[in-house]
Every structure is written in C-alpha cells, then in structure tokens.
C-alpha cells in the first residue's frame, strides 16, 4: 500500500486512508503471530470501499490538489516513459534558456515528434531553475522557436501543460510577457503540422494556453484547466480566499466539466488516487490517447490540419445571437 510508504504525501481528503492502512499494517503483523486473518481481510475490504468512495466523490478543489501534488509526474517524466529517445533542445537564441519550458525531439512509433512542456521542479534547487513551472517571456519564445522548427521538418507537436501560469515578475513584464504569449497564440494558429496538447497537471490561464492552441486538447483525469486559479478568483469575486471551494466549483475547471463544454477532446484516465500512484500506467494511457489522435490527424493534409485547428478555436464561445 502506497499510503504506508515513507515518502508518501497524503492530501487532506486522503487522511482516512492513512489511518486505515496503519491499522491494517499493525493487524497484519499481529496476525502473523496469532493467525486471525478474517479481521484483516474485513479491514482491507473496508479500505477498498472507503478508497473508491473518496476518489469517486472528488470535488473540483480536490482535483486541484491532486493536480498540484508534489509527487505528480511532470512532463519530463512522461517523456521518458513514452519515448525511447529524448534529444532536448535549449534556448531562445537571444539570451536565456528558460528552465520552466522544456523542449526537444522524441519518437513515437518511428515518427519524430517535437515535445514541448512546462516543467516544475521537485526541490528548491530544481525550482530555482524551473521557477516552479512558471515560464518567462523567453520561455515562450523558446517554445515558438521549436514550433517553427517542427513546422519546418514536418514534426507533429506534442505539448505537456502543467503550470500555475506565466510568471508575474518585473523582468517578465519588462521583456513583454504579453507579446510573447500573444505571438504563440497567433503563430500556433498558422502551423500546418498536427498539434496535440495534454494538460497533465495545472493548466494555468494564458501561461498554459500559450502552448495549448492545439488540434486536440487532452486532459489527464485529475488535471485542471482554468482562466484563473480558484484562489485568485475567490479573492477577486468573493473578496476572500476562503471561498476557494466555491470558486473552484463555479469556474468549471475539471476534465469532466471541460469535456462537457466541448473544450477538450478526451479525458485520459488515471489510476485510482491519481497519476502519482502509478506514473507508468498513466503514461501508457496517455500514449494510447496521443497515438489515437496523431493517427486521426495524419489522415489530413497540411492545409486541413491548419484549418481544423483554426475552426476549432473559431467556434469556441457561447452567446446569444439575437
């Protein structure tokens, strides 16, 4: 049971499982001496029920917590798991290699793919480099350079999105964060290679969208995608961060909500508890979904691929035409 492992980090709603699994562990050790297995088995059944109940009833905010779980697999993890090769490419050519944006070449079924993602760090040192997954303008320009590279060599583009958003900093503004994001939105619209975006964790607003203008948008089951963080929304609209639960509900940010709104094209199932319980299995599901959409898009001509993407976004919006 993962919950009893030393490095396991439990979320608040997972606390009942901790208690149960501790009980089971203790009993199992006793049982080894006393031989009464029934109590243990009952407890294990109870555990399974509680667990499936917990994960069935996840609130949007619970999903936010899973999406932000410090042990959640990050893009570089998925890349290693789904591709036999990884040739990372660095830099914007103009003065910075933003660690919050990674990019390079991978292979899927003998086809070269340009993989681009936002990347969080797992410790202080890594996060210094990755800036907690918050890209700077230079990161978006690095991504743009790689988009153009992919377009030139006819590489499909696969993006992995897991970012709180673009970095709100002094330099980021001075170097024109707005323009960097806007250019990516515009130029992604012009590509003739297939673009597939996978939200693997947090899809944080414009910072996520800047590598998310794709023919197909896929979401891991416990990832979220939102115009603003629930905390930010609560602070502005409810004027208190305490209303984060309400904001998370109101914003419709889960994969299920976004599928219903027809913003995303597919939900990639995660193992019970979330991808971090079994990154390998989740990556296999991810690869299956990506392959399916790549295969579908490969039947379109370059112009059709571009048109497909443009029409997808052209048609998003709900309004009354009186």
């Amino acid at each position: 049971m993962k919950e009893t492992k030393k490095d396991f980090i439990a979320l608040d709603f997972e606390k009942p499982l901790i208690a149960l699994s501790k009980q089971i562990n203790e009993l199992e050790q006793k049982t080894l001496q006393n031989g009464n297995k029934k109590v243990v088995n009952d407890l294990k059944n109870q555990y399974a029920k509680v667990k499936s109940q917990i994960y069935k009833d996840l609130s949007p905010l619970d999903r936010v917590k899973i999406a932000r779980h410090p042990q959640r697999p990050y893009p570089l993890d998925y890349i290693q798991l789904i591709s036999p090769t990884w040739h990372e490419l660095h830099g914007d050519r103009e003065g910075k290699d933003d660690g919050a944006i990674i990019g390079g070449l991978i292979e899927i079924e003998g086809q070269t793919i340009m993989a681009i993602g936002t990347q969080k760090g797992r410790n202080i040192k890594e996060n210094q480099k990755r800036n907690f997954g918050m890209p700077s303008p230079e990161g978006y320009r690095k991504a743009l350079r790689l988009f153009y590279h992919a377009e030139k060599f006819n590489f499909p583009i696969l993006t992995f999105i897991d970012t709180p958003g673009a970095y709100p900093g002094l330099e980021a503004e001075a170097h024109n964060q707005s323009h960097a994001i806007a250019m990516n939105l515009r130029e992604l619209a012009g590509l003739t290679v297939p673009v597939i975006a996978v939200i693997t964790g947090e899809g944080g607003s414009g910072g996520a969208l800047a590598i998310g203008v794709a023919n197909r948008i896929l979401m891991l089951e416990n990832s979220v995608y939102s115009v603003i963080s629930p905390e930010g929304c609560a602070a502005i609209l409810w004027r208190t961060k305490d209303k984060v639960q309400e904001a998370a509900n109101a914003l419709k940010i889960t994969a299920y909500d976004l599928y219903k709104l027809r913003i995303i094209d597919e939900i990639i199932p995660e193992v019970e508890g979330g991808a971090h319980y079994n990154p390998k299995e989740t990556s296999e599901q991810l690869l299956i979904a990506v392959k399916k959409h790549l295969e579908e898009l490969s039947r379109l001509s370059s112009n059709e691929i571009k048109k497909d993407r443009q029409e997808k976004f052209r048609n998003i919006g709900i309004f009354v035409n009186a």
Partner: protein, 321 residues
C-alpha cells in the same frame, strides 16, 4: 466661500435654467437629480490635477485636461465619435449578446452583473464593433468599453472581434482595435480564456492577408486582452500614461516581494522597453492613425482594386461621409 462652493453655486444656477428644458446633452432627465450629481454632470474634477473643469469644455478637448494633460477615460461611443468621421460609423453585430454558460454565481449571479453593466454603461457588451471612415479612409474598428465589467473579454467580445476581423479580410480594410480591459472575464471560465486563442487565430488570417492592424492601447489594458489581440498590432500605439501589462501591479509586488518603480507598466515605460511603437496624445490620435492608414495603403493600391470588396457596404458608408 471656497472655490468649489463658488462653482457649485454657479452650477446650480445654470442647472435651474436647464430644468426649464427637458434633458441634458446625454438625453437624461435632469429633474430627478440631486444637486451633487448635477455637479458631477456639468463639472468634472480632473483626475490628474484635481482642477474643476467644465464637463462640456473637457469633452470638447477630447477629455484631456487643459491644465495637466491628463487623459480621462472615454466611453466606447465617445472614442468612436472622436475617431470616426461624423456620421460614417455603421455598427455591426450589435445583437450578439452575452449568455451565462456556466450559470456562474459569486456574490451575485453573473446574469445580474450583466444587467447592471448594460444599465450603467449603456452598451450591450464590452465592445462596439463596426465599419467607419477615418479621414475618408474606410476602416474596420472595434472599441472596448471599460465601464462594462471592466472591459473584460468573454464570448461576446471574442466573437465580435473575430467577426470584425473577418469583415476586414473580406472587404480588405485596415483594422483598428482600441483596448481598455482588465483581461478575461472570469464569469465565463475557460470560454473567456479561449477567446484569447480565438482572436489571435483570426489575426493570423488577417496577417496572412497582409492587411494593416493598428492596435491602440488605452488606460488600462491588462491580462488576457494584452496577451492576445491587443499586442498583435502591426503598429502599437498607446495613450500617454496609460497602464498596460500582463499581470497586475499588486500580483507582481506580492510575487517578487518588492515595490515596483512608479512608471512601471505605463505607456512611457513600454516605449522605453521596446514594447510599443509610439505614445500619441489623444489630440493627435486621429491624424496619426489616418496617416498610418494612408502610408500603408499607397504601395498596394493595384492589388486592392475590387478585391472582394462589398460595394454596397462601402457605398453605404461613403454616402454618409
């Protein structure tokens, strides 16, 4: 008696005279208004230097303070009146209206907010789009209305901008968009975020059609609007002292834990940091836009002739000039 009181007294006298008529310039009935509101209507306190100014004279000066040069915020309609040749504006898509796709409720329902916004701003959504002429040059123009939920971009703003761009492509017209916005409209959730990609995608088509897009950034332009169509102009012009940026000042100060320089995110700061082409004071704005449109059309006239232009529409507009 202080200066303010003096003005107030003078003001009330004038108002008394007006009450014999039926309505003020805005077509509002004055009879029901208390004196203080009346003061606000006929007099305006400059937000730059606190000077009390005749509202009518301020308006005549394009809402720029004669004393300190402060550019007061304009309504979308005022902006159109200032930039578009008199009588030449034809609004399009005025009947694209907001919905409430998420049934969003915070401290009050989004539906109520929409109703209130329509009442206070006098417009149906946060942008007016249409065709009109600028010094006799036909232009596709969109102007954001900050009074309407902070000029925020939801599905309607996105749709109206995209439709305007498609009009510009179809008729081969230059495009002018005038931004004033706090960013994406949270109450429409992900749909508002997607308007960034939607408008940018339409601008890709405009770009490929090699048509001119002049983006005018006015106080304030932030968030998802700056980070999409507003920053994608061939020419970027800002009004003096307008604040323009991606993240808000407070968010940045909280993140980096230090005070930002006073001129941070002002038009002048952006110019110095290579982000915009020019800062143009409002009194020069129409001429400037008009010059740029002229300069950008004179080498391409050959390829322009009759290229998909809807003659009836143009005749309609020309007839008004």
């Amino acid at each position: 008696m202080g200066l303010k009181d003096f003005f107030k007294t003078r003001q009330l006298k004038k108002a008394a005279k007006l009450q014999n008529g039926t309505a003020n310039a805005n077509g509002q009935d004055l009879k029901a208004q208390p004196p203080d509101e009346l003061l606000c209507t006929l007099w305006t306190k400059c937000q730059g230097c606190n000077e009390l100014l005749y509202t009518s004279e301020l308006k005549k000066n394009l809402s720029v303070c004669k004393h300190c040069g402060f550019h007061h915020r304009l309504s979308a309609q005022e902006r159109i009146d200032q930039l578009i040749d008199y009588g030449s504006f034809i609004e399009i898509n005025e009947n694209i209206l907001p919905d409430d796709p998420l049934n969003f409720v915070d401290l009050k329902p989004y539906k109520n907010r929409l109703n209130e916004a329509q009442k206070t701003s006098g417009v149906k959504e946060a942008i007016i789009t249409g065709l009109g002429s600028i010094n006799n040059q036909l232009t596709a123009i969109g102007v954001m209305e900050f009074q309407y939920i902070g000029g925020s971009m939801g599905s309607v703003v996105g749709e109206k901008i995209v439709s305007l761009i498609e009009n510009a492509i179809d008729k081969r017209l230059p495009l002018v968009l005038i931004s004033s916005s706090g960013g994406a409209r949270m109450h429409e959730g992900i749909l508002s975020l997607m308007q960034m990609a939607k408008t940018a995608g339409a601008l890709k088509k405009l770009h490929e059609a090699k048509l001119l897009y002049i983006s005018i950034l006015t106080e304030p332009t932030f968030g998802g609007v700056t980070a999409s169509f507003a920053m994608l102009g061939d020419i970027l012009i800002a009004e003096p002292h307008a604040r323009i940026g991606f993240a808000g000042r407070r968010v940045i100060e909280e993140t980096i834990r230090q005070k930002l320089p006073k001129d941070f995110q002002t038009a002048e700061y952006l110019l110095e940091n290579g982000q915009i082409d020019l800062v143009v004071p409002r009194p020069n704005l129409k001429q400037h836009i008009s010059d740029l449109i002229r300069l950008h059309s004179q080498n391409t006239k050959k390829s322009f002739s009759g290229n998909g232009i809807d003659k009836t529409m143009i005749d309609k507009i020309l007839a008004r000039i």
